[in-house]
């Protein structure tokens, strides 16, 4: 068995934040022949903390202390995969970018650390919450709703593959309340607009009446039901449109989908279904408990949520990060120089295949040549034949020859097929070209704008993606 590697997942949400550290083995699946992370063991799980805020900004100092405590004994240099995400309203704080930079430094750039990436969040929540369920029921469409403090991230997928994502500003924390009462302490801009739309003339300091709470919950629940059912009109009313961060469209053949929940609200619902009592009134200082109760009492959700219960029962994002955000490359890759790695924030410029036109190939290689820190291109080899590899490598060599590509400039190619080393060898005339080429194979296509390559470990390279664009084409 191979040595164990370290995985981390850090989720900084609108309401709460948490961390999980795990270890895993990098191993070849003897059925598929592909390299994968197996025997994942949780080594540490933090408790949920309220995401610390100071004057509507993230409290960077306190978050930094939490980070230090969570990562404790973890050697950042040994981190193989996972990542950190700043989600929901936390990602909209004015110092979010600064906090992301701080986190990246703390993690020695070993994995991605990103904020404001709703499609990635949807993908992560799906993978962390119901990917295993979906694989066990490969013919069934699964829709996961990750309902947090600020946003509800939706993802639909089949057999463990996410097909469609969307995101709505529906969450517990838009209406903040004094714990134990319905006295409003804070309203987000989305909540203010919704109050106006619903005719609720209440503001900070005033108490919401039970029927007003019910109205708000009902509106949230209906929006989500319509989204899941594919019943949202193409032209949304103004307030609905405002709440739509990324539109969600049902994939084709979506009859009778299985529905799962995650996030803080999802955890409350599943806890209730398993017999836990509801927490005291507005115990968390927001509408999360009411939203959970509202969903649990509606026939639509009752019908769906009993059918498939995810084992993680909620903390989906952090597990998604931990288990699925990082892919291990194949073990036979082309790496001109291992010291090139890690490579962070490589823009994925596009895809080159044997059917790409000469001008497309030249354009993409030219774009790559302008990325001083390196760039990334996807390669498709549908026939997987020697003739195809020889020809495509020759075309790429020719395109590169016409450009002032600096010899130290990394050029990364990603492909799904286990053909990385042979493509790299033909591309570099069997290692005789001085170009800093990296060809990583067995990397599944992820709809993303950026790739992050970790350091070489046990002969494989960890690859993470972010900036997902999933669903935009549909």
């Amino acid at each position: 068995m191979s040595e164990r590697v370290t995985l981390i997942g850090l989720d900084f949400g609108t309401t709460t934040s948490c961390a999980v550290v795990a270890s895993a083995r990098v191993a070849c699946n003897s059925l598929t022949g592909r390299i994968e992370l197996s025997d994942v063991r949780q080594e540490y799980q933090s408790g949920q903390i309220f995401t610390p805020l100071v004057d509507d900004r993230l409290d960077e100092a306190q978050l930094g202390r939490h980070l230090d405590a969570w990562l404790g004994q973890v050697d950042a240099g040994q981190i193989f995969g996972g990542g950190a995400v700043l989600t929901g309203l936390a990602a909209q704080k004015s110092n979010a970018a600064a906090f992301i930079r701080q986190t990246r430094q703390r993690l020695a750039n070993a994995v991605i650390a990103v904020g404001e990436d709703p499609r990635l969040e949807s993908w992560l929540a799906f993978m962390g919450n119901c990917a295993d369920l979906a694989r066990a029921n490969p013919d069934r469409l699964f829709i996961n709703l990750d309902i947090g403090g600020g946003t509800t991230n939706l993802a639909a997928g089949r057999n463990g593959e996410v097909l469609q994502t969307g995101s709505y500003f529906v969450g517990a924390r838009h209406v903040q309340l004094a714990p134990g009462s319905y006295q409003i302490t804070r309203l987000s801009s989305y909540a203010s607009a919704l109050f106006k739309h619903l005719g609720i003339a209440k503001t900070v300091g005033e108490r919401l009446a039970p029927q007003e709470v019910a109205k708000i919950v009902d509106w949230y629940a209906r929006l989500l039901e319509d989204a899941v059912g594919g019943n949202l009109p193409s032209q949304l009313d103004a307030v609905s449109a405002m709440h739509e961060q990324v539109p969600f469209q049902l994939p084709p053949a979506a009859s009778d989908p299985a529905i799962t929940l995650s996030g803080g609200v999802g955890q409350l619902v599943y806890g209730h279904l398993q017999g836990d009592p509801w927490p005291p009134t507005t115990a968390f200082g927001d509408l999360g408990i009411d939203l959970a109760r509202g969903l649990a009492e509606r026939p639509f959700w009752q019908r769906h949520l009993q059918a498939f219960v995810p084992t993680s029962l909620g903390q989906a994002t952090v597990y998604g990060l931990l288990r699925y955000n990082t892919q291990a490359s194949g073990s036979t890759i082309y790496l001109a120089d291992p010291s090139l790695l890690p490579l962070a924030d490589l823009m994925i410029l596009g895809t080159i295949s044997p059917s790409s036109s000469a001008s497309d190939v030249e354009r993409l290689i030219a774009l790559a040549s302008q990325a001083v820190g390196g760039a990334c291109l996807r390669i498709e080899l549908p026939k997987r034949s020697l003739a195809e590899i020889r020809e495509l490598a020759a075309r790429l060599r020719q395109a590169i020859a016409h450009l002032p590509l600096a010899t130290q400039q990394p050029l990364v190619f990603l492909l799904r097929e286990n053909l990385g080393k042979v493509l790299g060898q033909y591309l570099t005339d069997w290692g005789q070209s001085p170009l800093k080429v990296v060809v990583l194979d067995e990397i599944d296509e992820r709809d993303a704008q950026f790739a992050h390559l970790g350091a070489l470990r046990q002969g494989v390279v960890p690859v993470s993606f972010y900036g997902a664009t999933l669903g935009k084409e549909c």
Binding site: S30, G33, E417
Partner: protein
């Protein structure tokens, strides 16, 4: 704990010159010189003995030899220890002489034939314990006189219960050793196979797996995992990882749960020491360490586990002129020294060079079981086969039915008969349950109680133990369907959990058989030379194997260039020679060569490497590369050869690339790596699993070129190359 008498203190008669044994019948005289030849000729004909020139050339001579052997007294056999090639009594033979001399004295005047008659006539109580008076060759001698009924009838009289956590070998029981082997020790796959076996009521003898990697770290991790599964399921059994005994001792020293310690044995000291890296002194040490520090030292009566099987001495060319059955009996004489918890016989595992067909395998298994029981051992049986022999699943099932009738203590549980790592076929948990039902047997009592509690078994109105509602339910040990699916996703040859009575559902059996059929066809397929000539302008040569049969039956024949082709291969001024052969799967070549060879030639040409005209050889074995390298004077032979198919149809198309390097420059590092200060003639770097679901041919070509260039640059291959590469890159 038994006393271990020092070998030097065991009395052994002085060896005597070979005598001439003669028998006259119907006016003909048959003469055989020496006890070894007599024992060899008296046995039924088996491939290994034929290969060693020990088998009788005709049925008439075989029967004459049996008549001669049957007329010799046990005392005659005692007085003539079989010696090694240097004329010495080796340590294995010496251990066999630790017998109960007064008891022997009481029967020393009996002929072997009379002794057989006494065994047949006596009750279980009368014959039990007589083995203490016998050496291995005495047990072998009587086995050779027995027909199938006698091998069954006598063996079933011997009871040899042993106890660790469970008690094996009690009357009316049939246990099983669960073997959750996985090609890469993937713990998910191991877990599924353990759960699956336990759900089918298997594993009461042992949960014991063969590791893919024999390192202290890996073996310790596997032991810890098996221990975790044992505790999780609550199954009362014991665990073992079948690594080298030195590795297990190191694991025990590091605190790993080595509950039962394992070692393969051989019937000659030269095989035991030079091939298995084991001495009697080491086995003694392991016994004492386990008695003092083993996790079950306070509760188990026995804690050692040996594996044996006819033919290993012959395969390694270290049989000392002793036939396979007698050498096997010598293993038992050695095993007896340690009062083992279990002995497992795997005759059939090696291949057609030792046991060619069902008859040879079945009879050999019955002999082994008989000899082991007679000598007082707790014999478990694993009648098994590889696809390149003519042994079949049906033959194996016939063997297991007969061995169950003969009272085997336990069988293997190799899930769906298909070993996922060792590419061979053994008995399964379904087979065990079938045999329990046919022969009214139960598992070990401790395990049976646990299984009844779980609903795996239930007690019928007549008091018999029958399958319960949870029998075959793998899910019962998993926390969720998704966990079960995750385990299945990492397990090869998991064709389905469906059952029909004690058997796999027909849809599952059909899958098992179909995959085996594809593997057999790959072995039997012939190279399509004309088709391959379109890939490269091969020089086509022949080996000494004249046909497919001799190729499969004799590895040596496929290791030499045939006489007719020698003239084609003369020294050439080329660094690299590419050689292609069918090996044990022509289909592997047909499916991969077009991807691999042109790209390898491209890569070598780009670096200006001088490559000879490729050679294509029908019926080649791995060692053929060495002969070709010697004839051509090539430094490196890139040898593309079909691998032996196992239980997965896809892998029957799997090819290996052996990079066979002939070091040309004398130096300390190579000499040291040979271990004995001698310069190694050849060093090997192997790239295996080249097929569509392993390492695809195109990608393999780049790996082959990269490794070949490294070999040529560093003038080294194999472990020495890897050490040099580590040193040059600074990677530990």
């Amino acid at each position: 704990m038994s006393d271990l008498p020092p070998l030097a203190e065991i009395p052994v008669p002085e060896p005597k010159p070979d005598e001439l044994y003669t028998h006259e019948f119907f006016g003909e005289k048959v003469s055989l010189r020496g006890l070894k030849r007599l024992l060899g000729a008296a046995d039924c004909s088996k491939a290994g003995d034929r290969g060693a020139g020990l088998s009788a050339p005709s049925e008439k001579i075989r029967e004459a030899a049996r008549a001669m052997l049957g007329s010799l007294t046990l005392g005659h056999l005692y007085e003539r220890p079989l010696v090694d090639d240097a004329g010495q009594v080796d340590s294995v033979m010496r251990a066999n002489y630790a017998v109960d001399l007064p008891l022997l004295e009481s029967i020393a005047g009996w002929t072997v034939g009379q002794f057989k008659d006494w065994l047949l006539a006596g009750s279980s109580e009368e014959v039990n314990g007589i083995g203490r008076a016998l050496t291995g060759p005495m047990a072998a001698a009587v086995a050779k006189l027995c027909d199938v009924h006698e091998l069954v009838c006598i063996a079933r009289k011997f009871k040899r219960p042993t106890h660790a956590r469970t008690t094996l070998g009690l009357p009316g029981t049939l246990s099983s050793r669960l073997q959750p082997n996985h090609p890469i020790d993937d713990l998910r796959g191991v877990t599924l196979l353990v759960y699956w076996g336990l759900a089918l009521g298997a594993g009461d003898a042992l949960i014991g797996m063969n590791p893919a990697i024999d390192t202290v770290d890996n073996i310790s991790a596997l032991l810890v995992h098996l221990d975790k599964l044992r505790r999780h399921t609550g199954a009362p059994t014991q665990i073992c990882v079948l690594s080298h005994i030195k590795t297990q001792l190191a694991c025990l020293a590091h605190g790993a749960p080595v509950e039962v310690i394992f070692q393969s044995l051989a019937g000659t000291e030269s095989t035991l020491t030079s091939e298995f890296d084991v001495t009697v002194d080491l086995l003694d040490e392991a016994y004492r360490v386990m008695a003092a520090r083993g996790p079950l030292k306070d509760s188990a009566r026995q804690f050692m586990y040996f594996e044996t099987g006819q033919g290993s001495e012959f395969t390694y060319g270290k049989h000392n002129g002793i036939d396979m059955a007698t050498a096997e009996a010598l293993c038992y004489g050695l095993a007896r020294r340690y009062d083992p918890f279990m002995v497992n016989n795997v005759t059939g595992f090696i291949g057609p060079e030792t046991h060619a067909d069902n008859f040879e395998m079945i009879v050999a298994n019955l002999q082994d079981h008989f000899m082991g029981k007679l000598l007082g051992l707790p014999m478990g049986m694993a009648p098994c086969y590889t696809l390149h022999s003519a042994i079949t699943l049906d033959g194996q099932q016939m063997a297991s039915e007969l061995l169950a009738a003969a009272g085997a203590n336990y069988y293997m549980d190799v899930c769906l008969n298909t070993d996922r790592m060792l590419a061979y076929f053994d008995t399964s948990a379904h087979d065990n349950q079938t045999l329990r039902e046919v022969y009214s047997r139960r598992p070990a009592p401790e395990f049976a109680a646990w299984a009844v509690e779980r609903g795996i078994f239930q007690t019928a109105a007549d008091g018999s133990l029958v399958r319960g509602p949870k029998w075959g339910d793998v899910r019962q040990f998993c926390s969720s369907d998704t966990e079960l699916q995750m385990l299945v996703d990492a397990t090869p040859a998991a064709y389905g959990f469906g059952t029909a009575g004690p058997r796999p559902a027909d849809s599952v059996s059909r899958q098992v058989r179909l995959h085996q059929a594809v593997g057999r066809e790959a072995i039997e397929s012939e190279l399509r030379v004309e088709e391959l000539l379109s890939i490269a302008p091969f020089r086509v040569i022949a080996t000494e194997a004249a046909d497919k049969h001799s190729h499969l039956a004799s590895p040596a024949a496929g290791s030499r260039v045939g006489r007719a082709s020698l003239a084609q291969l003369v020294p050439e001024d080329r660094e690299v020679q590419i050689l292609v052969s069918d090996g044990l799967s022509a289909e592997a070549i047909h499916h991969n060569l077009a991807d691999v060879l042109p790209a390898v030639l491209d890569g070598l040409a780009s670096h200006g490497v001088r490559v000879g005209q490729p050679i294509l050889a029908r019926y080649g074995r791995v060692k053929l590369a060495e002969h070709v390298a010697q004839l051509l004077g090539a430094s490196l032979v890139i040898y593309l050869i079909g691998e032996r198919p196992g239980g997965d149809a896809w892998s029957s198309r799997s090819m290996s690339a052996y990079l066979v390097y002939r070091p040309a420059v004398l130096g300390e590092s190579a000499a040291n790596s040979a271990g004995n200060g001698a310069w190694p003639q050849f060093e090997y770097t192997v790239i295996s699993n080249i097929y569509s679901r392993g390492l695809p041919g195109l990608e393999a070509s780049a790996v082959i070129v990269e490794k070949s260039l490294q070999i040529l640059d560093h003038h080294a291959a194999g472990n020495r190359l890897e050490a040099l590469l580590r040193a040059s890159t600074g990677v530990a």
